[in-house]
Amino acid sequence: MIRIPSAGGFAFLEHTADVGIRAWGPSISDAFEQAGVGLATLMGATAEPSGRTEPVHVEGIDLEGLLVAFLNELIYLFEIADGEGLASLKVTRLEPTSLDADVQLAPMDTSGEGLLVKAATYHQLEVSERPDGTAEARVYLDV
């Protein structure tokens, strides 16, 4: 099984033709990690923690843009990684307009029943931080 970040969680959102992810955690970085794990789960692209680590760097004009760029980076990695899926992931640095993460990829442990996700979209996109510092994100995917 993929290593799920201990803090926070994710849930899938219903959409007529597509599907969304709501992710939350004690910080924005945690919520972004949860969103990444949610994406991999939806795509059936998960793996045992092992394998190679890919450093990821994305930029965006704001936190919402960063989340979309981050998820699109993962979609790209899953598609070109022949038979490999997400084993674990860690957001190592989060600035207002840039994000770095370590993405661990390993041979997939799923049956190929995942959804083909074309991209993360900006539709009804939301990243919010509560006064206590906890965070929540919502993003819709084109499937």
């Binding site: 033709a17 790209y76 899953f78 190929g112 074309k118 979209t121 900006y122 084109d142």
Partner: protein
């Protein structure tokens, strides 16, 4: 949400429904279809599109409208190419030039194909890469991939794949001349290099179909269609290459809107004026991805041809295997249309809508000029599909556009809750539909009841004057993406 009824099949979304609308919305469909669209917030999206700078006429939606992201699925928006019009990559969608190809044969179902359908579907299933991560039938070098992006179907013909007739009967002759492969990112090329000749997933399919009814004998005759005939319909797009082109340029335009002072009610409507450098680059990359999509369907159809030859042990020529037409339903095109008595150059976005030129249009193959452009409407998996033709009337109604399919009404989870994959497979088999092996879970997500009634969608298009129905086809063999 207040809609004004214009007539039985046409509804108006008045200016002011959302702030900043520059034109009204016009939605086509029966009262029941419209009610569904209101419930799933798609009408709100029609109103949002009406705020785009330079939009001309109205923000249109076809009877298969449903909730999308940014644009509604089924949306048509034309912007002024000689003025302040914009182009929005989200108004084309991630699956650039996703579309439908119909291949005919001289074979009759009952006598010639029915006894061999199991073997035929098995062969087609094995010859058609599908699902997530599937590599295509052709693996291309970087140089050859760039040629596909520039030359579309022509590149494959040069390699001896297919016949010249295949280009002639494809929209735009199989190639958009103004493609700019250099504007396609390295990442998009990496995703596309191994995917030419693959179906993808979701609602994409390859079906063996039988012509169930002919409704316009003259047009059917011109297209070589007759009752009881076996055809193959392919529904797929530009794969990861197209998805990445859209991803790249939505992000580019999202960054540009602030500096350009453009505001839109939904960030997925990100856009740039057609005169902007980013827009010029996107148009070139989009056209390149469209060439990839046509080439993709061409390669798959060539695999179909080989399967028919192998299973029926006759040559494709002898079997009468030939392309009827190939048309895209996710694309933006520069077209000339008459607006208020004046010819104007417009950028027509069709997001889940099909171009439907009427009789006499110069861009049609000679053989089809008298009947109008063939429009291919894939039903949802296991339900009827249709062949329509464009009308002269549609030119003045929605910039020569019509519907593209059934349109979803139920989410994937809801569909899975209602039926198991194995149960659905049994039901389809009981209805006489042979299925190529695949995932039961993904089968259930595409259950026919998760979609609108395609008959009602087509009837609405006909009622609204957007197209005429030529033939109805029913599936007998399904290879699901």
């Amino acid at each position: 949400m207040e809609l004004e009824r214009v007539n039985e099949y046409e509804w108006r979304v008045p200016i002011g429904t959302v702030a900043g609308m520059r034109v009204p919305g016009i939605v086509f469909g029966t009262e029941e279809l419209i009610q569904r669209a209101v419930e799933d917030r798609a009408i709100q999206q029609v109103a949002n599109v009406a705020t785009l700078p330079g939009i001309v006429g109205a923000s249109y939606a076809m009877p298969d409208i449903h909730w999308g992201y940014g644009f509604p699925i089924g949306g048509v928006a034309a912007t002024d190419a000689d003025g302040d019009g914009v182009i929005s990559p989200g108004g084309v969608g991630f699956d650039i030039a996703c579309g439908v190809r119909l291949v005919r044969t001289d074979l009759t179902w009952e006598a010639e194909v029915r006894p061999r359908i199991g073997e035929l579907v098995s062969a087609l299933g094995n010859a058609t890469p599908r699902g997530t991560g599937a590599g295509g039938r052709l693996h291309l070098s970087r140089t050859d991939l760039l040629r596909v992006l520039r030359d579309g179907v022509g590149f494959l013909l040069d390699r001896g794949i297919g016949s010249p007739r295949d280009a002639e009967y494809c929209e735009d002759g199989g190639v958009l001349e103004d493609a700019l492969p250099d504007e396609v990112s390295e990442r998009a090329l990496t995703r596309g290099a191994g995917q030419l000749g693959s179906l993808g997933a979701g609602n994409h399919f390859l079906e063996v179909q039988v012509v169930d009814a002919i409704l316009e004998p003259q047009a059917a005759n011109v297209m070589g269609l007759f009752e009881g005939q076996v055809c193959v319909m392919i529904h797929c797009g530009s794969r990861g290459l197209g998805h990445q082109v859209c991803t790249d340029y939505v992000a580019t335009m999202d960054r540009l809107m602030g500096p350009l002072g453009i505001e839109v009610p939904d960030r997925q409507l990100a856009c740039a004026p057609l005169t902007n450098e980013a827009a010029r680059r996107y148009v070139g990359a989009m056209n390149a991805a469209a060439n990839f999509a046509r080439a993709n369907r061409h390669v798959l159809a060539n695999g179909v041809r080989a399967c028919f030859e192998a299973v029926l042990e006759r040559s494709a020529r002898d079997l009468g295997v030939a392309l009827v037409y190939d048309v895209a339903h996710n694309l933006a095109k520069l077209e000339e249309h008459e607006v208020d008595g004046r010819h104007r150059r417009l950028c027509v976005h069709r997001k889940g809508a099909t171009r439907a030129f009427g009789p006499g249009h110069p861009s049609l193959p000679d053989a089809y000029r008298a009947i109008g452009q063939p429009v291919l409407i894939p039903g949802s998996m296991g339900t009827a599909s249709f062949v329509l033709v464009g009308t002269a009337e549609a030119e003045y109604k929605a910039f020569a556009s019509t519907c593209h399919g059934a349109g979803r009404v139920m989410s994937r989870t809801q569909a899975r809750k209602r039926i198991g994959g194995h149960e659905l497979a049994r039901q389809l088999e009981a209805e006489g539909i042979t299925l190529a092996p695949g995932s039961p879970k993904l089968l259930a997500e595409e259950a026919p009841f998760a979609y609108k009634d395609v008959d009602e969608v087509v009837r609405s298009c006909e009622g609204a004057g957007l197209a005429r129905t030529v033939a109805k086809l029913r599936p007998v063999g399904v290879v699901k993406g």
